[in-house]
């Protein structure tokens, strides 16, 4: 049961992050390859604030989110005027810096030995993990609801115009850099919030959690499901991570030698479905409008 709750919590975290990435990339065209960096700031920020400084959980959650938002704003201000490839590299570099800081700043983070003693947001004894799962589901639904609503309001059209043709949007009086900066900061800040909650799910933090794998998993899930669709991340996570962690691993009787190879097989399988989907459904399983062909 404990494992199922943990695995389900991870799924919901992936869905929440994938939905935020859908907002950043699928809606606005900002190529954030540093998802795990923002998650890491929220995670360790929260962990340090509650375990080292013994702040109340709610205060620590809010502070961790604000710190992540602020750092995203500074990073965004430096890079969001650059083209997509440069943003990709810069965000990836940011995440790498965050990773190494967690390793080297032992006084704060505990380094590779880890940081423990992180409580659940709501302490209801044995059901605390379940309560946290409910909170995570609520947060994910909030993001999904926001993404859904965005398709029908002026702000959604503004973001779409930035993704489609930024100079044209600017020529119509839209302050595109400012809007990108605000939206990037807030959505990245929300990745920090998810990271902070994920810190509670894990109870114990080690730098390895902040390896680039998390970013790639979220990107793969969103690409599989459909980057331009609200439910893209949900579908993507269900057919990639959930398939392994919630179905195959607990229920499929696999021989021990296969079990040992499972993590590698999983990555190979991800690669296979990713290639297949990109070949046959370039916009993901849920699809979406293909950009007009340029002749």
């Amino acid at each position: 049961m404990a494992y199922t709750i943990f695995a389900a919590s991870s799924m919901v975290v992936y869905i929440a992050l994938g939905t935020l990435l859908h907002l950043q990339f699928g809606r606005t065209g900002m190529v954030n390859f540093g998802v795990v960096g923002f998650v890491g700031i929220g995670m360790y920020g929260f962990g340090i604030l509650v375990s080292r400084y013994e702040l109340p959980v709610v205060v620590a959650l809010v502070l961790a989110t604000l710190i992540t938002t602020l750092l995203a704003a500074i990073l965004g201000w430096l890079i969001l005027d650059l083209d997509g490839e440069a943003v990709l590299v810069a965000t990836l570099a940011f995440a790498t810096i965050v990773y190494y800081l967690t390793v080297t700043q032992k006084d704060l983070t505990g380094g590779v030995a880890g940081l423990g003693g992180i409580p659940y947001p709501i302490d209801v004894g044995l059901d605390s993990a379940l309560a946290l799962l409910v909170i995570l589901i609520f947060v994910a639904l909030l993001f999904l609801g926001y993404a859904h609503r965005l398709g029908r309001v002026p702000y959604g059209r503004l973001l779409a115009s930035i993704k489609d043709n930024e100079p044209l949007a600017r020529s119509l009086g839209k302050s595109t850099f400012r809007e990108k900066l605000i939206f990037f900061s807030i959505t990245s800040g929300m990745m920090g919030l998810v990271g902070a909650l994920y810190a509670s799910t894990n109870q114990f933090l080690v730098p390895r959690m902040l390896a680039a794998g998390l970013t790639f998993t979220v990107w793969i899930a969103l690409t599989l499901g459909g980057r331009a669709k609200v439910l893209g991340a949900v579908v993507g996570v269900l057919i990639s991570v959930a398939l392994f962690d919630l179905v195959i691993e607990p229920f499929l009787p696999v021989p021990r030698w296969v079990g040992a190879l499972m993590p590698d097989l999983q990555l190979m399988f991800y690669g296979l479905i990713l290639v297949t989907v990109i070949l046959f459904r370039p916009l993901g399983l849920l699809g979406g409008r293909q950009k007009a062909q340029r002749s």
């Binding site: 059209r157 043709n165 600017r170 119509l172 009086g173 839209k174 302050s175 605000i182 409008r289 007009a292």
Partner: protein, 264 residues
């Protein structure tokens, strides 16, 4: 609205280019000591390909930066130095340009594209998830344009080059410009749509609310809609005058219309 004789209408928005120079890779594409635009409702800018016409409009709207010189905009809220402003601020100040090369938002439908252009910043906030508060007047405008240009189904995406071109012009108008720059607005349009654009330009010019500068190679159209014409060649302004003066000038005939030009 009737204006009483005692209230004079506000003067048209105008643009004054002073000592403007722009070069790309050592080649001077625009060198204009002085140019005032907006004395008349509809002015034209003509000249052979590569004369620097589009460059001048791009300098005005901030799509290109100036090497030297100033561009001042005399609008409803006084005089503004455009060379110091980013392009979205220039558009908000009331100077808007349509595009020569087709530009479109690929994922927006025709109606969404127009609603985007009409939307004002207070509606475009990340926390605002309510109904669009675009003013009734602008919604009426959108419906009017959609009908005028006979868009059959505005809830799909623009498909043909003509539709995209018209959409570009309508978007510009929905920003409520005081000074509108039209860069080859009828290039590639079928005849009846060209006539629609021509009629619209003429009407806007006559209403006197906005000043229009139009670049076009279709000279018949230019002679018929423009009150005043500027002639450019090789980055320089060579001649200004009424359409009749310009079309009969020997320099214009030699450099642009060609010696064999036979027209009434």
């Amino acid at each position: 609205m009737e204006s009483t004789p005692s209230t004079r209408p506000a003067p048209r928005a105008s643009l004054v280019l002073t000592d403007v120079v722009k070069s790309f890779g050592g080649r001077t594409v625009a060198d204009i000591p002085h140019l005032k635009l907006g004395r008349y409702g509809v002015e034209g800018l003509i000249g052979p390909n590569g004369a620097g016409k589009t460059t001048v409009t791009k300098l005005i709207t901030g799509a290109h930066s100036l090497d030297r010189g100033t561009i001042s905009y005399h609008g409803p809220s006084g005089v503004i130095d455009l060379s110091q402003l980013p392009s979205h601020r220039i558009a908000r100040a009331g100077v808007v340009k349509s595009n020569q090369v087709i530009q479109d938002f690929e994922t927006l439908t025709i109606r969404d594209s127009l609603l985007l252009a009409a939307a004002r910043p207070r509606d475009e906030r990340f926390w605002y998830l309510g109904r669009s508060r675009t003013s009734a007047e602008l919604v009426n405008d959108i419906d009017g344009y959609l009908e005028y240009f006979r868009f059959e189904n505005p809830d799909r995406h623009a498909l043909s080059a003509g539709e995209k071109k018209l959409l570009d012009i309508i978007r510009c108008l929905l920003v409520k410009p005081k000074f509108l720059l039209l860069d080859e607005p009828t290039a590639g349009l079928p005849q009846w749509e060209t006539d629609q654009v021509k009629e619209l330009v003429r009407q806007l010019g006559a209403e006197g609310e906005i000043s229009i500068l139009i670049i076009e190679h279709d000279l018949e159209l230019m002679w018929s809609v423009c009150d005043y014409v500027h002639f450019m060649a090789d980055g320089k302004l060579l001649l200004q005058g009424t359409p009749d003066e310009v079309r009969s000038d020997p320099t214009v005939i030699e450099k642009y219309l060609g010696g064999g030009h036979v027209e009434g």
